[in-house]
């Protein structure tokens, strides 16, 4: 019977998980919003999905699958309430693919085709070409009889041009360095890892690691400044192009406008010059983010309401189960006493007092609820996590398609653990009620006449 207690207890435990989740994501959104605010002069450009492959001539790819370029973000649909492709990374790195939110439709494009942006559009002060590629593998998992395949990103390579002109004047580097040093102009053969990368490669500052069969020296470690860069390692663009066998290709570029007044005009000019591009200004991304934030908040509110509802139900269940315990003990013990009338009569005939008989049967009733409780809790601890996640569909707000990197690194484990304290309280209560339930049967046992021993069936 305690299995019936453990499951709702697991559900209750999940509430904490959901709360953690909520605050975690709130922080992230706020953080990302702040960084976007600072970079309103930036315009992100990548190939629109319908132009995938535009200007792309497949080079002889031997050791790297070009189809993986920029594909770590998995959302592509429009009109979804939670479309990761809309959630660009802001002023920090990794807008185009990489993290869960950094998806988008980054396709390889020929770098030379976009040289005209700097030269022929007024108001453009700099262009930063970017190559982003993810390495990972598919993971298949079975849950509740269904099979899900999700892509697990191991790491994302982001190549950025390490020229002093760009580095000195534009925020193209991540700023949060936790060990070693940041990338510098002219760096080559070196790599800046995220903390996740560092763990993945089991490498620290000064170590040499192999990326796609080439050696790189770890120059520094960066902390995360947005959800999108947790798996991103940074290197020189030319290194990235050669190591992924993509020389001459990029997946996106970022245009820096003279000032925030001309941003919209510049973006319009880019669009008209290169209609195949998706052009997103910082302002637009901020608006998208705000839309997303409100969508998310609405979803979170309803999730919390639903969790609250489940919690109430879980509490009610516990009360019902605890009450049921005493009823079960009552009936089992009444049956036992009836079945053992002759035995009880014998005990009384050979000199057992009423109180001894009564105590004996109380003890049996309590033992019954204890055993049932222990067994039930054991089963419940095993079953509760699985069952309670079934009971809590809203926990899966982000769905299985919320990419792996995100699930792994940001989202607290959504599987419920059993709330031990609550189980113990419920267990204690059910044992106490079990004792109460055996009170009447035990009294009935004490009242059995010893002459019953004389009867024979």
């Amino acid at each position: 019977m305690a299995i019936m207690i453990s499951i709702p207890a697991g559900v209750l435990a999940n509430q904490q998980t959901a709360t953690d989740l909520a605050s975690n994501l709130s922080n992230t959104i706020t953080q990302t919003g702040q960084s976007i605010n600072q970079t309103l002069t930036q315009i992100d450009c990548s190939l629109a999905s319908s132009f995938s492959g535009f200007g792309f001539q497949a080079p002889n790819s031997t050791n790297f699958d070009r189809s993986q370029l920029g594909q770590s973000g998995q959302g592509s649909g429009t009109g979804r309430t939670f479309d990761p492709s809309q959630f660009g990374g802001g002023g920090t790195r990794g807008q185009f693919g990489g993290g869960a939110f950094g998806g988008g439709q980054a396709s390889p494009m020929n770098q030379t085709l976009y040289n005209d942006i700097n030269s022929s559009i007024s108001g453009v002060v700099a262009v930063e070409p970017i190559l982003q590629a993810s390495e990972g593998n598919n993971e298949t998992m079975s849950m509740f009889g269904r099979t899900f395949t999700r892509q697990i990103t191991s790491y994302t390579i982001e190549g950025i041009p390490l020229t002093s002109d760009l580095i000195d004047n534009y925020p193209i580097l991540t700023t949060n360095i936790t060990a070693g040093r940041n990338l510098q102009a002219g760096d080559s053969g070196v790599v800046l890892l995220s903390e996740n990368n560092s763990a993945y490669f089991n490498a620290d500052v000064g170590d040499t690691i192999q990326i796609l069969d080439q050696d790189f020296t770890v120059i520094g470690i960066h902390g995360t400044s947005s959800v999108s860069d947790q798996l991103t390692l940074y290197m020189n663009l030319s290194d990235a192009q050669s190591v992924t066998n993509n020389t001459g290709y990029i997946t996106s570029f970022r245009v820096f406008a003279q000032n925030s007044d001309v941003v919209t005009q510049v973006a319009r000019s880019i669009s008209s010059l290169h209609s195949e591009l998706t052009v997103t200004t910082g302002q637009e991304r901020l608006t998208q983010l705000q839309t997303l934030q409100s969508t998310y908040n609405t979803a979170l509110d309803s999730a919390q309401a639903s969790i609250g509802q489940t919690q109430t139900t879980a509490f009610e269940e516990i009360i019902v189960v605890v009450a049921a315990t005493s009823l079960i003990v009552l009936f089992v013990m009444l049956y036992t006493v009836r079945e053992r009338t002759k035995e009880i009569g014998t005990l009384k005939a050979i000199g057992f007092s009423n109180s001894t008989v009564m105590g004996q049967f109380m003890l049996e009733g309590i033992l019954l609820s204890v055993i049932a409780g222990v067994v039930g809790i054991a089963i419940g601890i095993v079953a509760a996590p699985a069952l309670s996640s079934l009971l809590l569909p809203s926990i899966n707000l982000f769905g299985n398609t919320a990419a792996a990197g995100f699930t792994r690194n940001v989202m607290p484990t959504a599987a419920a653990s059993v709330n031990l304290e609550l189980v113990l309280i419920a267990f204690g209560a059910s044992v106490a009620l079990g004792a109460l339930g055996s009170l009447y049967p035990a009294w009935r046992a004490a009242k059995i006449r010893p002459a019953e021993a004389m009867k024979y069936e």
Partner: protein, 269 residues
């Protein structure tokens, strides 16, 4: 010189069934001395079990007096009576009534629980009693592993647990075959001889009754007839078959060479 262990005067017991009163016992008088082996016989419904229940303090008399060891049990409340049952009485049932989930020794220990504090002492005494009824080595066997006769021996050992003033046996051989019946009667007779245990035994079996020293015939709740049994002769060191002098522990009569308690003519069925 033997003193009365049980004195019953004008005992009446009636049951009310609906509007009808059934007089199970009416104005019954009986005295049993310490060390006597008594058989109560009588047709079905004559009140044998009722009488045993009243003597054993598991039922109350409607009127009359029951003195056990001089104590008037009729006026005792239940809070005292269980001690009389525990300390002064030993019950042997037709259906043995052993607790199936306890082994032989634990069954024998049961009545001692409220009386002997030390567990080791209880164990020791239970083992001694089981040896006395011929079951050494079977202490750890549960009832289901014992034959019917062996189960009844365990029950007799249990009845002896607290050294009772009276053993009350209701049809102790009723569920046994003739071989086991003989052995149980012999065991009771021996206990009576060697331990001086007072035994009151209800039986339908006249041959079993014959092996007691005193047979009472009950009819309509009254004792209507009384007769001496063969056991009395043995107690008086006389062979029940030929009347010549025998010794207490003789199995066969030195004169007529007949077995003293299990002669074929007595247990031929």
């Amino acid at each position: 010189m033997s003193k009365p262990v049980l004195q019953i005067e004008n005992l009446c017991k009636s049951f009310t069934l609906g509007k009808r009163d059934i007089n199970a016992l009416s104005n019954l008088n009986l005295q049993v001395n310490a060390g006597e082996f008594v058989a109560i016989m009588g047709p079905s419904g004559s009140g044998k079990t009722t009488l045993l229940n009243v003597i054993g303090c598991i039922d109350k008399a409607t009127s009359g007096q029951v003195l056990l060891d001089g104590i008037d049990v009729g006026s005792m409340p239940e809070s005292q009576l269980y001690k009389i049952r525990r300390d002064k009485m030993g019950f042997v049932f037709q259906t043995f009534n052993l607790l199936p989930y306890l082994n032989a020794r634990e069954n024998v220990e049961l009545p001692m629980e409220g009386k002997i504090k030390s567990k080791t002492e209880r164990k020791k005494r239970a083992s001694e009693l089981l040896a006395m009824v011929g079951l050494s080595g079977r202490e750890n066997h549960r009832p289901q592993r014992l034959s019917a006769g062996e189960q009844q021996r365990v029950a007799i050992a249990r009845a002896l647990a607290n050294n009772p003033a009276i053993i009350l046996a209701d049809e102790p051989t009723g569920n046994l075959d003739s071989q086991n019946k003989q052995e149980i009667i012999k065991l009771l007779a021996n206990l009576n001889l060697t331990q001086g245990t007072t035994i009151i035994m209800v039986t339908h079996d006249s041959q079993a009754a014959n092996h007691t020293e005193r047979m009472l015939l009950l009819k309509d709740g009254k004792i209507v007839k009384e007769k001496e049994g063969l056991h009395l002769a043995k107690k008086n060191n006389k062979c029940p078959n030929c009347g010549s002098t025998i010794q207490m522990n003789d199995e066969t009569c030195p004169a007529c060479k007949k077995p003293i308690f299990s002669s074929d003519e007595l247990f031929s069925t």
